[in-house]
């Protein structure tokens, strides 16, 4: 398309069915010449009503119900739920249980990040329509992804009872905990996974990244001693520093016509970014030395404001997850009791944990019988929706001179920077107590 034509014509970038993401969504970008007129990330996956479904259920059922929200990040849903409910009941878990929770979360990060880095996002950078076509030329890359993913799944099986929708997680701990020997057999695979992740970070750092930086507000948990997984304050690079219980004071969910998922925004400042890039920028000093070093070698150091480099950051987080799993296994002593309990009492509890895609907030209100009165679940993809659209508003003018087909592919790539999980995001019905 000539520059003259581009200036005068109206065009629409339409991706009717966004592939290589979880769930069903679409992108619409309307252009007049090289000016962006409209951007919509359309999420048409039907709302799944989990918040309404939880109402009236006993709190002990929650981990098993919320695990069903997502096949990729069920642990995240279970973790946010059990932490929120334990806050209500005043339960403090055994240190070994805390360790096992971090460990099962590492398994989920490994399988999710391996899937996204190699199978979902790498094809964009290497010029393939999908992982299948990529596999013909990059057989080793796909084999690596499958083995990494399998190692993550093995951690989930040992700790959670099965690789998807774990069944051993409960409020107060686990129904069953592993022996030291059951964890030790995973060590060789995890060493391979760590070394492979280090190599993978260097490989993906050599990809070509568009020149695109934004002044993001990065939001993630922050813990004084650890790279965040299960706990911490909610912080940002623009002054946010709150206990998770203040989430509702600072953030607001908003319905938009074109999406079945609520948009979440900071009340004072609008769109923000959660996920690996935010965690990395806000918690770099908590990464193990090997992960920090490979990040520096790869040319990504905080503040990294190019979302396309998120693929490198995910690979660095893969290194972290493997290192952390090895550290935790080395330290593990089984708890005296696999789970703690406390008398039921009415109350409200909040928690946020770091799902592979970003901060996942849960809030529950239960009555004196332990029945759930209200539930609120704010997944990372819902939080990133507004930011994804803002990225397209800013990015498309840079590429508006390209043929429509290439603009379309670049827009998909830009959305995949966020590894959106549309299945997770569509829980738009808020339950209010009557």
């Amino acid at each position: 398309m000539s520059a003259k034509t581009a200036k005068n014509s109206s065009r629409a970038v339409k991706v009717d069915y966004l592939t290589r993401v979880e769930g069903e969504g679409a992108i619409l970008v309307k252009l007049k010449g090289e000016q962006v007129q409209e951007v919509q990330l359309q999420i048409f996956e039907p709302p799944r009503l989990f918040e309404a479904f939880l109402r009236g259920r006993h709190y002990l059922e929650t981990p098993d119900i919320v695990a069903r929200i997502c096949g990729i990040c069920p642990v995240a849903y279970q973790m946010s739920a059990v932490h929120a409910l334990e806050r209500i009941l005043g339960i403090t878990v055994d240190p070994a249980v805390r360790l096992l929770r971090r460990l099962i979360y590492c398994g989920e990060w490994i399988e999710s990040h391996a899937l996204h880095v190699f199978m979902l996002h790498a094809p964009d950078f290497l010029g393939y329509p999908d992982a299948i076509r990529m596999a013909a030329d990059h057989h080793g890359l796909v084999e690596t992804a499958l083995r990494l993913k399998k190692i993550g799944n093995q951690l989930m099986v040992v700790l959670g009872g099965r690789e998807i929708h774990p069944i051993s997680v409960t409020v107060g701990g686990f129904y069953k905990v592993p022996t030291k020997a059951e964890l030790r057999v995973l060590v060789d695979d995890l060493v391979w996974a760590r070394d492979t992740s280090l190599a993978a970070a260097r490989t993906v750092a050599g990809l070509e990244f568009p020149e695109f930086e934004q002044d993001y507000e990065f939001v993630s948990l922050s813990h004084p001693d650890e790279y965040p997984l299960n706990e911490g304050l909610l912080v940002s690079n623009k002054g946010l520093d709150i206990d998770v219980s203040e989430f509702g004071d600072q953030f607001a969910e908003q319905h938009v016509r074109h999406s079945n998922a609520l948009h979440c925004r900071l009340r004072e400042r609008g769109g923000y970014l959660v996920g690996p890039l935010a965690r990395f920028n806000l918690n770099f000093d908590k990464l193990p030395e090997s992960a920090q070093q490979v990040a520096r070698e790869c040319g990504v150091t905080p503040p990294c404001r190019n979302p396309f480099r998120g693929i490198v950051v995910r690979a660095v987080e893969l290194v972290f997850a493997c290192e952390e799993a090895l550290r935790l296994i080395a330290q593990y002593e089984p708890p005296l009791s696999p789970r703690a309990s406390a008398p039921v009492r009415a109350g409200v509890g909040h928690a946020a944990t770091e799902a592979p895609r970003g901060t996942l907030y849960h809030r529950y209100e239960i009555d004196e019988r332990g029945l759930i009165l209200n539930a609120q679940i704010v997944p990372p993809t819902a939080q990133n929706q507004k930011r994804m659209e803002e990225d397209l508003w800013q990015y498309v003018p840079q590429i508006a001179g390209l043929p429509l087909e290439k603009i379309t592919a670049r827009c998909e790539q830009a959305v995949r920077n966020y590894d959106p999980c549309i299945s997770c995001a569509t829980h738009f019905v808020r339950v209010e107590r009557t």
Partner: protein, 150 residues
């Protein structure tokens, strides 16, 4: 049952999502008939590790092709590529169709791959499968049982 090794039978689906339970229910019914079948409620990519190159494989899954709920379609998944929309019942980024397609470049193609697709209609969480799908479960289980007996 014959002592000769039968096909590897893999039944996919989520037992808690309405008609998506078709696969796991076929596995259970086959178990009652003395036929070993694995129910997989998980990662479709794990299929690639489930079979050995050259092995005869039967997969049972819920499909959405627009036919009447409970209708059974049988596909030779190696002869014709599986149409992704038919398998849209999975919300996974990479599903059964992709797993089968990946087998070829990775050198993990089974000897045969027969897909029994049970037409599904409703996937609501924690709801039972429809009567039409339950009837199809019985038909498919009997058919696979007969296949294994010969």
């Amino acid at each position: 049952m014959s002592s000769a090794p039968g096909p590897l039978i893999l039944c996919l689906g989520n037992p808690d999502r309405g008609d998506d339970a078709a696969g796991p229910l076929v596995a259970r019914r086959l178990g009652e008939m003395g036929v070993i079948a694995r129910a997989l409620d998980g990662d479709p990519l794990a299929l690639l590790d489930s079979w050995r190159a050259g092995e005869h494989v039967v997969v049972v899954d819920a499909v959405v092709t627009g036919r009447t709920p409970g209708a059974v379609s049988v596909y030779d998944a190696l002869r014709a590529p599986l149409a992704v929309p038919a398998l849209r019942s999975s919300s996974h980024a990479l599903g059964l169709a992709e797993a089968v397609a990946l087998a070829r470049p990775l050198g993990r193609v089974p000897g045969s791959l027969t897909l029994y697709g049970i037409e599904a209609h409703r996937f609501d969480l924690f709801t039972p499968p429809s009567k039409a799908v339950l009837r199809a479960v019985e038909r498919v289980a009997r058919r696979i049982h007969e296949h294994c007996a010969h």
